[in-house]
Amino acid sequence: MSATTLELSPAACAYLRRATWGLPRERQQEVWDELEEHLLTRAAQLQACGAAPPEALARALTELGSPARVSAGMTGVYLMPKLILMAGAGALALSAALYALAGGQETAYLPVVTNLPLPVCERMEPENVTGTIISNWANTVCFLPAASPKPLFVGGLSGSEPLVSLNTVERMIQLLDGKTRFQPNGVLEISLPASENIVRASFRVTTRFQGQAYFPAQVLIWPSSSKRQMLSGYQQPTLRIEQQVFAMSGNQGHQAGADFYNRLSPRLISTLGPGAYTTDGIIGARSHPIQTSLKADDVVLTVIHSHDNFYLTHYAPVSSTGSVNIRVNSTRLQFVSSFRQLKQKRADGRTPALLIRVTNVPLNNLKSSIFMPRQAISDAL
Protein backbone atom coordinates (compact mmCIF):
# COMPACT_ATOMS: atom_id res chain seq x y z
CA MET A 1 0.00 0.00 0.00
CA SER A 2 2.81 2.40 0.82
CA ALA A 3 6.56 2.23 1.16
CA THR A 4 6.51 3.11 4.84
CA THR A 5 4.49 0.05 5.76
CA LEU A 6 7.78 -1.84 5.97
CA GLU A 7 8.08 -0.33 9.42
CA LEU A 8 4.86 -1.98 10.48
CA SER A 9 4.55 -5.50 11.74
CA PRO A 10 2.67 -8.06 9.62
CA ALA A 11 -0.13 -7.86 12.18
CA ALA A 12 -0.34 -4.10 11.74
CA CYS A 13 -0.40 -4.44 7.96
CA ALA A 14 -3.13 -7.05 8.22
CA TYR A 15 -5.05 -4.71 10.50
CA LEU A 16 -4.81 -1.83 8.05
CA ARG A 17 -5.75 -4.06 5.15
CA ARG A 18 -8.87 -5.17 6.96
CA ALA A 19 -9.74 -1.74 8.24
CA THR A 20 -9.67 -0.30 4.74
CA TRP A 21 -11.40 -3.26 3.15
CA GLY A 22 -14.32 -2.38 0.91
CA LEU A 23 -13.49 1.29 0.62
CA PRO A 24 -13.36 2.96 -2.78
CA ARG A 25 -9.82 2.90 -4.13
CA GLU A 26 -9.43 6.65 -3.89
CA ARG A 27 -10.19 6.50 -0.16
CA GLN A 28 -8.24 3.42 0.79
CA GLN A 29 -4.81 5.02 0.78
CA GLU A 30 -6.09 8.07 2.63
CA VAL A 31 -7.61 6.03 5.45
CA TRP A 32 -4.64 3.67 5.50
CA ASP A 33 -2.24 6.61 5.93
CA GLU A 34 -4.32 8.17 8.66
CA LEU A 35 -4.61 4.96 10.69
CA GLU A 36 -0.95 4.13 10.10
CA GLU A 37 0.05 7.53 11.43
CA HIS A 38 -2.17 7.00 14.46
CA LEU A 39 -0.65 3.60 15.20
CA LEU A 40 2.93 4.81 14.86
CA THR A 41 2.34 7.92 16.94
CA ARG A 42 0.61 6.01 19.72
CA ALA A 43 3.30 3.30 19.63
CA ALA A 44 6.01 5.98 19.93
CA GLN A 45 4.18 7.48 22.89
CA LEU A 46 4.01 4.09 24.60
CA GLN A 47 7.69 3.46 23.88
CA ALA A 48 8.50 6.78 25.51
CA CYS A 49 6.74 5.44 28.59
CA GLY A 50 8.98 2.37 28.60
CA ALA A 51 7.20 -0.17 26.43
CA ALA A 52 9.28 -2.32 24.08
CA PRO A 53 8.61 -1.57 20.37
CA PRO A 54 6.69 -4.78 19.57
CA GLU A 55 4.64 -4.44 22.72
CA ALA A 56 3.95 -0.78 22.02
CA LEU A 57 2.68 -1.46 18.52
CA ALA A 58 0.59 -4.38 19.68
CA ARG A 59 -1.01 -2.23 22.36
CA ALA A 60 -1.63 0.60 19.91
CA LEU A 61 -3.42 -1.87 17.66
CA THR A 62 -5.53 -3.13 20.53
CA GLU A 63 -6.49 0.39 21.53
CA LEU A 64 -7.54 1.24 18.01
CA GLY A 65 -10.12 -1.50 18.34
CA SER A 66 -11.46 -3.99 15.87
CA PRO A 67 -10.62 -3.29 12.22
CA ALA A 68 -14.17 -4.42 11.60
CA ARG A 69 -15.46 -1.41 13.50
CA VAL A 70 -13.28 0.97 11.53
CA SER A 71 -14.20 -0.62 8.22
CA ALA A 72 -17.90 -0.58 9.06
CA GLY A 73 -17.76 3.09 9.93
CA MET A 74 -15.72 4.10 6.92
CA THR A 75 -17.70 2.16 4.36
CA GLY A 76 -20.81 3.58 5.98
CA VAL A 77 -19.47 7.05 5.20
CA TYR A 78 -18.17 6.47 1.71
CA LEU A 79 -20.10 3.61 0.22
CA MET A 80 -23.61 3.81 1.56
CA PRO A 81 -24.46 7.34 0.41
CA LYS A 82 -23.15 6.59 -3.07
CA LEU A 83 -25.10 3.39 -3.36
CA ILE A 84 -28.22 4.93 -1.91
CA LEU A 85 -27.94 7.73 -4.42
CA MET A 86 -27.62 5.24 -7.23
CA ALA A 87 -30.53 3.20 -5.91
CA GLY A 88 -32.58 6.35 -5.63
CA ALA A 89 -31.94 6.95 -9.29
CA GLY A 90 -33.42 3.57 -10.01
CA ALA A 91 -30.12 2.15 -11.09
CA LEU A 92 -29.26 -0.08 -8.21
CA ALA A 93 -30.45 -2.13 -5.37
CA LEU A 94 -27.73 -2.30 -2.86
CA SER A 95 -26.27 -3.64 0.25
CA ALA A 96 -24.07 -1.95 2.71
CA ALA A 97 -20.44 -2.90 2.66
CA LEU A 98 -20.00 -3.22 6.34
CA TYR A 99 -17.78 -5.06 8.64
CA ALA A 100 -19.24 -6.36 11.83
CA LEU A 101 -18.44 -8.79 14.53
CA ALA A 102 -20.46 -11.96 14.45
CA GLY A 103 -19.95 -14.59 17.05
CA GLY A 104 -16.47 -13.38 17.75
CA GLN A 105 -15.50 -13.83 14.11
CA GLU A 106 -15.06 -11.04 11.65
CA THR A 107 -17.57 -10.95 8.86
CA ALA A 108 -17.00 -8.98 5.72
CA TYR A 109 -20.28 -7.78 4.28
CA LEU A 110 -20.02 -7.80 0.51
CA PRO A 111 -21.78 -5.09 -1.42
CA VAL A 112 -24.02 -6.89 -3.87
CA VAL A 113 -25.83 -4.72 -6.37
CA THR A 114 -28.55 -5.46 -8.86
CA ASN A 115 -30.39 -3.85 -11.75
CA LEU A 116 -27.39 -2.43 -13.54
CA PRO A 117 -27.73 -1.76 -17.26
CA LEU A 118 -26.90 -4.94 -19.19
CA PRO A 119 -24.84 -5.05 -22.35
CA VAL A 120 -25.87 -6.61 -25.62
CA CYS A 121 -23.59 -9.48 -26.68
CA GLU A 122 -23.07 -10.29 -30.35
CA ARG A 123 -20.55 -11.98 -32.57
CA MET A 124 -19.17 -8.99 -34.41
CA GLU A 125 -16.04 -7.00 -34.96
CA PRO A 126 -15.30 -4.52 -32.15
CA GLU A 127 -14.77 -1.71 -34.65
CA ASN A 128 -18.39 -2.06 -35.78
CA VAL A 129 -19.76 -1.45 -32.28
CA THR A 130 -21.71 1.73 -31.67
CA GLY A 131 -21.57 2.09 -27.95
CA THR A 132 -19.38 1.26 -24.99
CA ILE A 133 -17.58 -2.08 -25.22
CA ILE A 134 -17.85 -4.01 -21.96
CA SER A 135 -15.90 -7.10 -22.96
CA ASN A 136 -14.46 -8.74 -26.02
CA TRP A 137 -13.89 -12.41 -25.44
CA ALA A 138 -14.14 -15.61 -27.45
CA ASN A 139 -15.24 -13.78 -30.62
CA THR A 140 -18.14 -12.20 -28.77
CA VAL A 141 -18.36 -8.49 -28.13
CA CYS A 142 -20.58 -7.25 -25.28
CA PHE A 143 -21.44 -3.57 -25.35
CA LEU A 144 -23.84 -0.99 -23.99
CA PRO A 145 -25.50 0.48 -27.09
CA ALA A 146 -24.95 4.19 -27.58
CA ALA A 147 -28.60 4.73 -28.43
CA SER A 148 -30.83 2.16 -26.85
CA PRO A 149 -34.59 2.47 -27.34
CA LYS A 150 -35.03 1.74 -23.67
CA PRO A 151 -32.71 1.03 -20.75
CA LEU A 152 -31.48 -2.53 -20.61
CA PHE A 153 -31.54 -4.11 -17.21
CA VAL A 154 -30.61 -7.47 -15.89
CA GLY A 155 -33.73 -9.53 -15.52
CA GLY A 156 -34.29 -13.08 -14.45
CA LEU A 157 -36.99 -15.54 -13.58
CA SER A 158 -37.13 -14.40 -10.03
CA GLY A 159 -35.68 -10.94 -10.07
CA SER A 160 -32.35 -9.40 -10.79
CA GLU A 161 -28.79 -10.46 -11.27
CA PRO A 162 -26.72 -9.98 -8.11
CA LEU A 163 -23.44 -8.38 -9.07
CA VAL A 164 -20.25 -7.59 -7.23
CA SER A 165 -17.78 -4.93 -8.22
CA LEU A 166 -14.24 -5.62 -9.30
CA ASN A 167 -13.09 -3.75 -6.23
CA THR A 168 -15.10 -6.08 -4.00
CA VAL A 169 -13.73 -9.20 -5.68
CA GLU A 170 -10.18 -7.91 -5.47
CA ARG A 171 -10.51 -7.14 -1.76
CA MET A 172 -12.03 -10.53 -1.06
CA ILE A 173 -9.35 -12.41 -2.95
CA GLN A 174 -6.70 -10.31 -1.24
CA LEU A 175 -8.04 -11.39 2.14
CA LEU A 176 -7.68 -14.99 0.98
CA ASP A 177 -4.08 -14.37 -0.09
CA GLY A 178 -5.04 -14.89 -3.70
CA LYS A 179 -4.40 -12.84 -6.81
CA THR A 180 -6.60 -11.24 -9.43
CA ARG A 181 -5.79 -10.01 -12.89
CA PHE A 182 -8.34 -7.98 -14.81
CA GLN A 183 -7.48 -8.03 -18.46
CA PRO A 184 -8.31 -5.34 -21.01
CA ASN A 185 -10.71 -7.70 -22.81
CA GLY A 186 -12.94 -7.80 -19.74
CA VAL A 187 -11.80 -11.13 -18.33
CA LEU A 188 -10.98 -11.45 -14.67
CA GLU A 189 -8.56 -14.18 -13.67
CA ILE A 190 -8.56 -15.35 -10.08
CA SER A 191 -5.94 -17.60 -8.56
CA LEU A 192 -6.08 -18.83 -5.02
CA PRO A 193 -3.48 -20.79 -3.14
CA ALA A 194 -4.95 -23.88 -1.56
CA SER A 195 -3.56 -26.76 0.37
CA GLU A 196 -3.73 -29.16 -2.53
CA ASN A 197 -3.79 -27.03 -5.63
CA ILE A 198 -4.08 -23.53 -6.94
CA VAL A 199 -7.59 -22.56 -7.87
CA ARG A 200 -7.72 -20.72 -11.14
CA ALA A 201 -10.86 -19.32 -12.64
CA SER A 202 -11.73 -16.81 -15.33
CA PHE A 203 -14.84 -14.69 -15.44
CA ARG A 204 -16.08 -12.25 -18.01
CA VAL A 205 -17.23 -8.88 -16.79
CA THR A 206 -21.04 -8.62 -16.81
CA THR A 207 -21.32 -4.89 -17.11
CA ARG A 208 -19.69 -1.61 -16.18
CA PHE A 209 -21.24 1.25 -14.34
CA GLN A 210 -19.75 4.58 -13.36
CA GLY A 211 -16.26 3.39 -14.19
CA GLN A 212 -16.48 0.20 -12.15
CA ALA A 213 -16.57 -3.32 -13.60
CA TYR A 214 -19.18 -5.71 -12.20
CA PHE A 215 -19.23 -9.50 -12.15
CA PRO A 216 -21.89 -12.05 -11.18
CA ALA A 217 -21.85 -12.65 -7.43
CA GLN A 218 -21.28 -16.31 -8.25
CA VAL A 219 -17.63 -15.53 -8.98
CA LEU A 220 -17.24 -15.76 -5.24
CA ILE A 221 -18.09 -19.48 -5.26
CA TRP A 222 -15.68 -22.21 -6.35
CA PRO A 223 -17.43 -25.52 -5.64
CA SER A 224 -14.65 -27.56 -7.22
CA SER A 225 -12.00 -25.94 -5.07
CA SER A 226 -10.23 -27.79 -2.32
CA LYS A 227 -10.72 -24.68 -0.25
CA ARG A 228 -13.47 -25.37 2.22
CA GLN A 229 -16.42 -23.20 1.21
CA MET A 230 -19.70 -23.13 3.04
CA LEU A 231 -22.85 -21.09 2.52
CA SER A 232 -25.43 -20.24 5.13
CA GLY A 233 -28.62 -18.23 5.21
CA TYR A 234 -31.19 -17.66 2.51
CA GLN A 235 -32.27 -14.06 2.61
CA GLN A 236 -28.76 -12.80 3.29
CA PRO A 237 -26.36 -15.50 2.16
CA THR A 238 -23.11 -15.78 4.04
CA LEU A 239 -20.10 -17.49 2.56
CA ARG A 240 -17.43 -18.98 4.77
CA ILE A 241 -14.10 -19.75 3.13
CA GLU A 242 -11.91 -21.44 5.66
CA GLN A 243 -11.50 -18.78 8.38
CA GLN A 244 -12.97 -15.87 6.42
CA VAL A 245 -16.65 -15.05 6.47
CA PHE A 246 -18.32 -12.96 3.77
CA ALA A 247 -21.96 -11.94 3.95
CA MET A 248 -24.03 -10.73 1.05
CA SER A 249 -27.05 -8.60 1.69
CA GLY A 250 -29.20 -6.22 -0.24
CA ASN A 251 -32.03 -3.87 0.35
CA GLN A 252 -34.25 -6.19 -1.60
CA GLY A 253 -34.21 -8.61 1.32
CA HIS A 254 -35.52 -11.96 0.20
CA GLN A 255 -34.95 -11.19 -3.43
CA ALA A 256 -31.21 -10.74 -3.12
CA GLY A 257 -30.76 -14.16 -1.54
CA ALA A 258 -33.13 -15.95 -3.91
CA ASP A 259 -31.44 -14.47 -6.94
CA PHE A 260 -28.02 -15.40 -5.65
CA TYR A 261 -28.95 -19.04 -5.14
CA ASN A 262 -30.88 -19.31 -8.40
CA ARG A 263 -27.84 -18.26 -10.37
CA LEU A 264 -25.60 -20.64 -8.50
CA SER A 265 -27.12 -23.71 -10.16
CA PRO A 266 -24.80 -24.10 -13.17
CA ARG A 267 -21.77 -24.14 -10.90
CA LEU A 268 -23.24 -26.58 -8.38
CA ILE A 269 -24.84 -29.00 -10.85
CA SER A 270 -21.59 -29.45 -12.74
CA THR A 271 -20.07 -30.97 -9.61
CA LEU A 272 -22.79 -33.62 -9.24
CA GLY A 273 -22.23 -35.64 -12.38
CA PRO A 274 -20.01 -35.67 -15.47
CA GLY A 275 -21.41 -33.39 -18.16
CA ALA A 276 -24.36 -32.30 -16.04
CA TYR A 277 -25.53 -28.79 -16.81
CA THR A 278 -28.41 -26.46 -16.10
CA THR A 279 -29.55 -22.87 -16.25
CA ASP A 280 -30.66 -20.67 -13.38
CA GLY A 281 -32.98 -22.03 -10.73
CA ILE A 282 -36.68 -22.04 -11.57
CA ILE A 283 -39.89 -21.48 -9.68
CA GLY A 284 -42.34 -24.07 -10.93
CA ALA A 285 -46.12 -24.07 -10.91
CA ARG A 286 -46.57 -27.02 -8.54
CA SER A 287 -46.11 -26.67 -4.84
CA HIS A 288 -44.74 -29.52 -2.73
CA PRO A 289 -44.52 -28.79 1.00
CA ILE A 290 -42.21 -31.36 2.56
CA GLN A 291 -41.04 -31.91 6.10
CA THR A 292 -37.34 -32.12 6.92
CA SER A 293 -35.20 -32.26 10.00
CA LEU A 294 -33.16 -29.26 8.84
CA LYS A 295 -32.89 -26.03 10.73
CA ALA A 296 -34.60 -22.78 9.87
CA ASP A 297 -32.99 -20.77 7.06
CA ASP A 298 -31.11 -23.74 5.69
CA VAL A 299 -31.47 -23.87 1.92
CA VAL A 300 -32.59 -26.92 -0.01
CA LEU A 301 -31.77 -27.47 -3.66
CA THR A 302 -34.17 -29.67 -5.60
CA VAL A 303 -32.86 -31.25 -8.79
CA ILE A 304 -35.00 -32.86 -11.49
CA HIS A 305 -33.78 -34.35 -14.75
CA SER A 306 -35.06 -32.66 -17.92
CA HIS A 307 -33.36 -34.23 -20.92
CA ASP A 308 -29.93 -35.52 -21.91
CA ASN A 309 -27.58 -34.09 -19.30
CA PHE A 310 -29.78 -31.07 -18.63
CA TYR A 311 -31.36 -30.64 -15.20
CA LEU A 312 -33.87 -28.28 -13.61
CA THR A 313 -33.22 -26.79 -10.19
CA HIS A 314 -35.19 -25.03 -7.49
CA TYR A 315 -34.07 -23.48 -4.22
CA ALA A 316 -36.19 -23.05 -1.12
CA PRO A 317 -35.48 -22.02 2.47
CA VAL A 318 -36.35 -24.20 5.44
CA SER A 319 -39.02 -22.71 7.68
CA SER A 320 -38.84 -22.53 11.46
CA THR A 321 -40.84 -25.77 11.62
CA GLY A 322 -38.48 -27.62 9.28
CA SER A 323 -40.81 -27.54 6.29
CA VAL A 324 -39.73 -26.64 2.78
CA ASN A 325 -42.00 -25.56 -0.04
CA ILE A 326 -40.62 -27.03 -3.25
CA ARG A 327 -41.90 -25.36 -6.41
CA VAL A 328 -41.41 -27.45 -9.53
CA ASN A 329 -43.55 -28.24 -12.56
CA SER A 330 -44.00 -31.92 -11.76
CA THR A 331 -47.18 -32.96 -9.98
CA ARG A 332 -46.00 -36.23 -8.48
CA LEU A 333 -42.50 -36.61 -7.06
CA GLN A 334 -40.48 -39.57 -5.89
CA PHE A 335 -37.48 -38.50 -3.86
CA VAL A 336 -34.30 -40.41 -4.62
CA SER A 337 -31.02 -40.72 -2.81
CA SER A 338 -28.48 -40.37 -5.61
CA PHE A 339 -27.88 -38.14 -8.61
CA ARG A 340 -27.69 -41.19 -10.88
CA GLN A 341 -31.29 -42.16 -10.03
CA LEU A 342 -32.67 -38.93 -11.48
CA LYS A 343 -32.49 -40.30 -15.03
CA GLN A 344 -34.25 -43.55 -14.21
CA LYS A 345 -37.81 -43.84 -15.60
CA ARG A 346 -40.34 -44.95 -13.04
CA ALA A 347 -43.22 -47.32 -13.72
CA ASP A 348 -45.52 -45.32 -11.46
CA GLY A 349 -44.96 -42.16 -13.49
CA ARG A 350 -43.55 -40.19 -10.61
CA THR A 351 -40.73 -37.78 -11.36
CA PRO A 352 -37.49 -38.57 -9.51
CA ALA A 353 -36.35 -35.60 -7.45
CA LEU A 354 -33.15 -35.11 -5.53
CA LEU A 355 -32.95 -32.96 -2.41
CA ILE A 356 -29.60 -31.46 -1.46
CA ARG A 357 -28.84 -29.29 1.48
CA VAL A 358 -26.58 -26.52 0.16
CA THR A 359 -26.06 -24.53 3.35
CA ASN A 360 -23.80 -25.29 6.28
CA VAL A 361 -22.16 -28.09 4.30
CA PRO A 362 -18.93 -28.06 2.27
CA LEU A 363 -19.75 -27.02 -1.29
CA ASN A 364 -17.00 -29.18 -2.72
CA ASN A 365 -18.74 -32.33 -1.51
CA LEU A 366 -22.43 -31.74 -2.21
CA LYS A 367 -23.09 -35.42 -2.85
CA SER A 368 -22.69 -36.00 0.86
CA SER A 369 -25.47 -33.51 1.50
CA ILE A 370 -28.18 -35.39 -0.37
CA PHE A 371 -31.01 -36.26 1.97
CA MET A 372 -34.41 -37.91 1.97
CA PRO A 373 -37.42 -36.13 3.48
CA ARG A 374 -39.71 -37.80 5.99
CA GLN A 375 -42.10 -38.76 3.15
CA ALA A 376 -40.40 -40.37 0.13
CA ILE A 377 -43.16 -39.22 -2.23
CA SER A 378 -45.07 -36.01 -2.68
CA ASP A 379 -48.21 -35.03 -4.54
CA ALA A 380 -48.55 -31.36 -5.37
CA LEU A 381 -51.12 -29.31 -3.51
Binding site: D33, E37, L40, L64, G73
Partner: protein, 107 residues
Protein backbone atom coordinates in the same frame (compact mmCIF):
# COMPACT_ATOMS: atom_id res chain seq x y z
CA UNK B 1 -18.78 7.23 31.64
CA UNK B 2 -21.65 5.55 29.84
CA UNK B 3 -20.37 4.91 26.31
CA UNK B 4 -23.85 5.50 24.93
CA UNK B 5 -23.66 9.09 26.12
CA UNK B 6 -20.37 9.56 24.30
CA UNK B 7 -21.68 7.91 21.17
CA UNK B 8 -24.89 9.90 21.18
CA UNK B 9 -23.06 13.20 21.50
CA UNK B 10 -19.97 12.44 19.46
CA UNK B 11 -20.60 15.16 16.86
CA UNK B 12 -21.10 17.79 19.56
CA UNK B 13 -17.91 16.69 21.34
CA UNK B 14 -15.77 16.62 18.20
CA UNK B 15 -17.02 19.96 16.93
CA UNK B 16 -16.36 21.46 20.36
CA UNK B 17 -12.80 20.15 20.47
CA UNK B 18 -12.12 21.55 17.00
CA UNK B 19 -13.94 24.82 17.58
CA UNK B 20 -10.80 26.89 17.99
CA UNK B 21 -7.93 24.76 16.69
CA UNK B 22 -7.58 22.30 13.82
CA UNK B 23 -6.20 18.97 15.05
CA UNK B 24 -5.35 15.56 13.60
CA UNK B 25 -6.94 12.32 14.79
CA UNK B 26 -4.49 11.27 17.46
CA UNK B 27 -4.26 14.81 18.78
CA UNK B 28 -8.04 15.01 19.07
CA UNK B 29 -8.02 12.00 21.38
CA UNK B 30 -5.24 13.52 23.47
CA UNK B 31 -7.03 16.85 23.61
CA UNK B 32 -10.29 15.25 24.72
CA UNK B 33 -8.54 13.39 27.50
CA UNK B 34 -6.55 16.41 28.60
CA UNK B 35 -9.50 18.81 28.68
CA UNK B 36 -11.72 16.43 30.61
CA UNK B 37 -9.02 14.86 32.79
CA UNK B 38 -9.58 11.49 31.18
CA UNK B 39 -13.39 11.53 31.36
CA UNK B 40 -13.78 11.07 27.62
CA UNK B 41 -12.19 7.80 26.49
CA UNK B 42 -12.79 7.57 22.78
CA UNK B 43 -13.21 4.28 21.06
CA UNK B 44 -10.55 5.14 18.56
CA UNK B 45 -11.97 2.88 15.89
CA UNK B 46 -15.15 4.96 16.01
CA UNK B 47 -13.39 8.31 15.98
CA UNK B 48 -12.02 8.20 12.45
CA UNK B 49 -15.28 7.23 10.76
CA UNK B 50 -16.99 10.03 12.69
CA UNK B 51 -14.38 12.55 11.52
CA UNK B 52 -14.75 11.41 7.94
CA UNK B 53 -18.53 11.61 8.18
CA UNK B 54 -18.40 15.15 9.52
CA UNK B 55 -16.01 16.02 6.71
CA UNK B 56 -18.35 14.53 4.12
CA UNK B 57 -21.24 16.46 5.66
CA UNK B 58 -19.25 19.68 5.25
CA UNK B 59 -19.01 20.35 8.97
CA UNK B 60 -15.26 19.76 9.00
CA UNK B 61 -12.65 20.49 6.36
CA UNK B 62 -9.41 18.56 5.98
CA UNK B 63 -6.05 20.26 5.81
CA UNK B 64 -2.69 18.61 5.33
CA UNK B 65 -0.14 19.52 7.98
CA UNK B 66 3.37 18.55 8.96
CA UNK B 67 4.87 15.19 8.03
CA UNK B 68 3.90 12.48 10.51
CA UNK B 69 5.70 9.37 11.69
CA UNK B 70 4.76 7.47 8.58
CA UNK B 71 6.46 10.04 6.39
CA UNK B 72 3.24 11.51 5.08
CA UNK B 73 1.44 14.76 5.87
CA UNK B 74 -0.87 14.58 8.84
CA UNK B 75 -4.54 15.16 8.13
CA UNK B 76 -5.86 18.01 10.23
CA UNK B 77 -9.56 18.62 10.70
CA UNK B 78 -10.84 22.19 10.92
CA UNK B 79 -14.37 23.29 11.68
CA UNK B 80 -16.23 25.00 8.83
CA UNK B 81 -18.85 27.73 8.99
CA UNK B 82 -21.52 25.08 8.59
CA UNK B 83 -19.85 23.16 11.40
CA UNK B 84 -20.04 26.21 13.67
CA UNK B 85 -23.73 26.62 12.94
CA UNK B 86 -24.30 22.95 13.70
CA UNK B 87 -22.27 23.23 16.88
CA UNK B 88 -24.42 26.13 18.06
CA UNK B 89 -27.58 24.19 17.32
CA UNK B 90 -26.32 21.04 19.00
CA UNK B 91 -25.26 22.97 22.07
CA UNK B 92 -28.71 24.49 22.38
CA UNK B 93 -30.29 21.09 21.89
CA UNK B 94 -28.05 19.53 24.51
CA UNK B 95 -28.72 22.34 26.97
CA UNK B 96 -32.46 21.95 26.48
CA UNK B 97 -32.21 18.23 27.04
CA UNK B 98 -30.11 18.42 30.20
CA UNK B 99 -32.32 21.26 31.46
CA UNK B 100 -35.41 19.15 30.94
CA UNK B 101 -33.83 16.19 32.71
CA UNK B 102 -32.89 18.50 35.56
CA UNK B 103 -36.45 19.75 35.79
CA UNK B 104 -37.67 16.18 36.03
CA UNK B 105 -35.44 15.68 39.04
CA UNK B 106 -36.72 18.82 40.77
CA UNK B 107 -40.42 18.14 40.24
Amino acid sequence: MNPDLLRGNLDLILLTILEHTPLYGFAIIQEARARTEGYFQFKEGSLYPALHRLEQDGLLAAQLGEVGRNGKPRKYYAITDAGRQTLTAKRAEFASFTGAVGQLGRS
